[in-house]
Amino acid sequence: MAGFIELMLERFKVYREPGYYKRFDYWWAMVIDLDRCTGCGACVTACQAENNTPVVGEEECGKGRNLSWIRIERYIEGEYPNVKVKFIPVLCPQCDRAPCEVACPVYATYHNQDGLNVQVYNRCVGTFTCATYCPYDVRRFNWFTYNKKNFLKGNGGSSTSFEPPLDQQLNPDVSVREMGVMEKCTFCIQRIRAAKDRAKDENRPIRDGEIQPACVQTCPTKALTFGDLNNPKSRIAQLAGLSTAGDLHYLRESGSKISDISSNPRTYRLLEDLNAAPTIFYLKRVMKNGSSTAGHE
């Protein structure tokens, strides 16, 4: 009995740990250099090719139901001729304190040991809550059975999203999502899995730069970098200016701003004041006339 109580107390201590994981096995993160990003959209198509995201057609696009997991947001400030155009690729930032995770009643989304915010498609019942709670609007929903739906209606033609033989392109490592489930960027978890598999065969840890999600891989300007934040020597840790272990600890434990921690003054996180602790670090764009907003001291 005493043993049981002891066990329960011990459990209690562990289970009361915020975030639960003291340290992720790997902490996958991305750095996006906005000064390099040109907004060319290669990442968008690469993602679509890798992750079996269906094409939805003109009508559905008009309703904002396109399924791209990454999008380029473009903001225009000012009027002719003083126009400032800014681009930012937005994809699921795999928040450490992800608001979507708490919303799901059936655990279809949760945080895994790699620091990823994971969506389990076949557990999803489609309550939409995660997408509503998501401040970044990166969650995408399967409104139809896209491999049955003709999206060219009204244009004379007929085609489903995976019209044969287009379906032969589908990546077998990624499931084709059923109607009624939510989906989102996974940081190309199938590639992470493959890399882990390889590393396990060779009995070594995953090397820095070994995994490149489709968007990172294709980026012509190399604006996107992916890697393990746990490894202070990794390229992204260097780029984000988080190259000491203390930084990481501080980042995980406190809700403070990245600008207080990072040694790179260009590092920031999107909508940081919402305290969702996203793990995508943007590097500020260098731009004449400064930002239109008070983004810096």
């Binding site: 294709t218 260098v286 810096h296």
Partner: protein, 748 residues
């Protein structure tokens, strides 16, 4: 309670119900999946494990190297080849979407013979034997009548050994008319380079290492020449490893392109006066004494009328701005000036480009790292041939036309009357994978492989200062009953006999390619060093190409002021239509995803939001909202755009990055016969253009007319993905100023 009879009835009902349920269960069972083993296992295939094959991207003429992920014989993904010097692992959206070309449901699956009136699109399926014999018979007949020179071959840009094969074929057959066509062939640029750099090629613009990039309408981020390479360069220029200065980009163009959006400064110059502005800058360079050459005096004389006051009034760019640009361009080293498609597409395109190139000469950027690096010579390509074809066809000079992947009908203005001219050709055969507008006019269609199914190679042009060849290998087995173009010509040569049989002796194109590469191997150059050809070949296939990373030392070119000034025109470009009736300049530009229209049949590209407007699945008209005031136009309204030569209807998008006197329309949509995803979508603004080609280069000037607009009531087709494009102080895209950035570098 329950008597016997009722009981029996109940039992009966129950039994029947159960049996029916059981039967339904049996019927609704999914049939078991099948496991199909290999008959003989392919050597290097493990089911469930991907193989990567190196190949070349053929979505545009940049010549990027790709890796194709193949699982169980089917291509699953394309990625940039990280070893390849052109794209360095990157790939643009069009390259990514190549898979949808391979798996396009609208690919031609069998050889087809015309079965009705030409152009009606009625075809019947035939076998390859029949198809080839029709073509052979036609060619035999032509030759026997002594009209071999009346065979014309029109292909897309082909630069690899297929080009040699086709040239050999045509030569042996006896026809000089082997033509290549692409709307964006950059002939003007080559011409201008001949004058300043001394080579009829496109040089390598070393964006990666430049510190000041002055771009005159060069949208190198999206489509211009070699976008992936330039994008890589751009990334390096801004935040490259080991750079201590962040390169600056100034974009001079009337419509803010994606490149302009990324620039530090945008100079919205009056359309057609970019050349004048360049000369104005040249004037400042000379006046400021930044030119180190001995012939400064001559240059000064030649350019004396381009003083800032005069230039400012022509270009509508302030004097101070011109002076500041000139000074900055001359003093920042290295600097680089490039002239892009917008500039080249005026009626005076060549002179604009010469003027821009002159800047590079005057500030000594040619042959320098971070400047203009001359490329190795390449085989001279044919003159842009569309006017020739139109002329020769209407003169009934062409008896037989063989097309290969070229689609001039879509990319030339109606006013050139190419479509009518083609009708005068007695026999047209098309070797194409897709049923495009030109193929629709053919009598015989022989479907060709896509670049995933065929052998081939590609010599990138421009390259990066040294020779780069990319190899293509059949990554997947052919999906449909198609043949590679090379194979078709080889088998034609065999059946035609004569010279052809003597010159073309290979059994198929793969063997031809291998034999040809033996010659390259025997020169023992390049990065692949192997003891025998077998290993060389294997390395080549594994690596995806061959390159010789040692740049050739360039010879200095003598540029004489008098010679150059002959090519300069002080006048702004002329536009068709008077400015009273047609108040707007028209700027046509290649769309990021479709370029000249070739990508419009790929749904991924259709659904890729245009970065500047976020429009998908259609054409739009970009217009400054200031210009629309008083016209009662709201965003999304359908506008009728009229030039003196044609009219189109498209929805309007209010775009602040647009001069109020200018309207821009992207190319690429408005297909009539290009598969289900492209047909009947948007409008083709090429229809607005006059029947004009550049007399020096044959290029079609895209920006050569003025237009007027009227609002019309037409069914709307306008889908944009953006909600509100204002940040509203939310700190979404945060920025720091260059000054802060500089300070930051010192601290770190």
């Amino acid at each position: 309670m329950l008597n016997r009879r009722d009981f029996l009835k109940l039992v009966g009902v129950g039994g029947a119900g159960a049996a029916a349920g059981f039967a339904l269960g049996e019927l609704t069972k999914t049939p078991p999946a099948k496991l199909i083993p290999y008959l003989i296992p392919p050597e290097d295939v493990i089911p469930g494990i991907a193989n990567w094959y190196a190949s070349a991207c053929m979505q545009c003429s940049a010549g990027c190297g790709i890796l194709v992920r193949v699982m169980e014989g089917r291509a699953k993904k394309i990625e940039g080849n990280p070893l390849h010097p052109i794209n360095k692992g990157g790939l643009c959206a069009r390259g990514q979407a190549g898979l949808q070309l391979l798996y396009n449901p609208d690919r031609i699956k069998n050889p087809l013979k015309r079965n009705g009136k030409r152009g009606k699109g009625e075809f019947e399926e035939i076998t390859w034997e029949e198809g080839l014999s029709i073509l052979t018979n036609n060619l035999m007949e032509l030759r026997s009548h002594g009209e071999a020179d009346r065979l014309y071959l029109l292909t897309s840009l082909i630069r690899g050994h297929l080009n040699f094969l086709l040239a050999d074929f045509m030569k042996a057959y006896g026809s000089p008319n082997y033509l290549q066509y692409d709307l964006f062939q950059y002939e003007n640029l080559r011409f201008a380079n001949k004058i300043i750099v001394g080579q009829y090629t496109i040089p390598h613009y070393d964006i990666a290492n430049t510190n000041f990039l002055l771009s005159f309408g060069a949208d190198f981020v999206t489509t211009w020449i070699s976008p992936v390479n330039y994008n890589y360069g751009y990334g390096q220029m801004r935040q490259g490893e080991g750079r201590n200065v962040r390169g600056k980009l100034v974009q001079i163009e009337p419509r803010l392109s994606l490149t302009g959006a990324n620039a530090d400064e945008w100079v919205p110059v009056r359309p057609g006066t970019e050349g004048v502005l360049a000369l104005g800058i040249a004037y400042i360079i000379l006046e400021g004494g930044y030119y180190r050459g001995g012939d400064a005096k001559l240059w000064k004389d030649a350019l004396k009328k381009y003083n800032p006051e005069a230039v400012a009034s022509t270009t509508e760019v302030s004097e101070d701005r011109i002076k500041q640009l000139g000074k900055e361009f001359a003093t920042t080293k290295p600097s680089l000036a490039i002239g892009g498609e917008t500039v080249s597409s005026y009626e005076n395109g060549v002179s604009n480009l010469v003027a821009i190139n002159l800047l590079n000469h005057l500030s000594g950027n040619i042959g320098k790292t971070g400047g203009v690096i001359p490329n190795p010579d390449v085989i001279k390509k044919s003159f842009n041939p569309i006017a020739t074809i139109a002329k020769d066809a209407s003169r009934r000079k062409i008896k037989t036309l063989i097309l290969h992947n070229a689609n001039p009908v879509f990319t030339t203005p109606e006013t050139l009357k190419l479509k009518d001219a083609l009708k005068d050709i007695p026999f047209i055969a098309s070797l194409s994978s897709l049923h495009d507008e030109t193929t629709a006019l053919a009598d015989l269609i022989l479907p060709s492989h896509t670049y995933f199914e065929d052998w081939g190679d590609d010599f990138a042009e421009p390259t990066v200062g040294y020779s780069v060849a990319t190899i293509m290998q059949p990554a997947v087995s052919p999906l449909f009953n198609t043949k590679g173009a090379g194979d078709v010509f080889i088998s034609l040569a065999k059946t035609l006999g004569g010279n052809l049989q003597k010159d073309i002796t290979w059994e198929d194109f793969g063997v031809f390619l291998r034999d040809s590469w033996k010659k390259i191997y025997e020169r023992h150059k390049g990065d692949i060093k192997e003891a025998n050809f077998e290993d060389f070949w294997n390395d080549l296939l594994a690596r995806g190409g061959w390159w010789d990373a040692v740049p050739k030392a360039s010879k200095p070119v003598r540029v004489a002021a008098s010679e150059v000034s002959a090519h300069l025109s002080s006048e702004p470009a002329k536009f068709e239509g008077n400015d009273k009736e047609y108040p707007f300049y028209l700027i046509l530009y290649p769309h990021l995803s479709y370029k000249d229209g070739r990508g419009a049949n790929l749904p991924w590209l259709q659904e890729l939001p245009d970065p500047m407007t976020s429009v998908v699945w259609g054409t739009w008209i970009e217009m400054n909202s200031k210009a629309a005031t008083g016209m009662g136009i709201k965003e999304g309204d359908m506008l009728l755009v009229e030039s003196p030569f044609g009219k189109i209807t498209a929805p309007v998008y209010f775009y602040p990055g647009q001069r109020p006197d200018t309207i821009s329309i992207p190319l690429g949509q408005g297909h009539t016969s290009y598969g289900r995803y492209a047909d009947g979508r948007g409008a083709n603004p090429i229809e607005l253009l006059p029947a004009k080609t550049d007399p020096k280069t044959g290029a079609i000037p895209l920006n050569s007319t003025r237009i007027k607009i009227t609002r019309v009531n037409a069914p709307k087709s306008f889908v944009k993905m953006e909600g509100v494009a204002k940040e509203l102080g939310r700190n979404i895209v945060q920025t720091i100023t260059p000054e802060e950035f500089k300070k930051m570098g010192k601290e770190a």
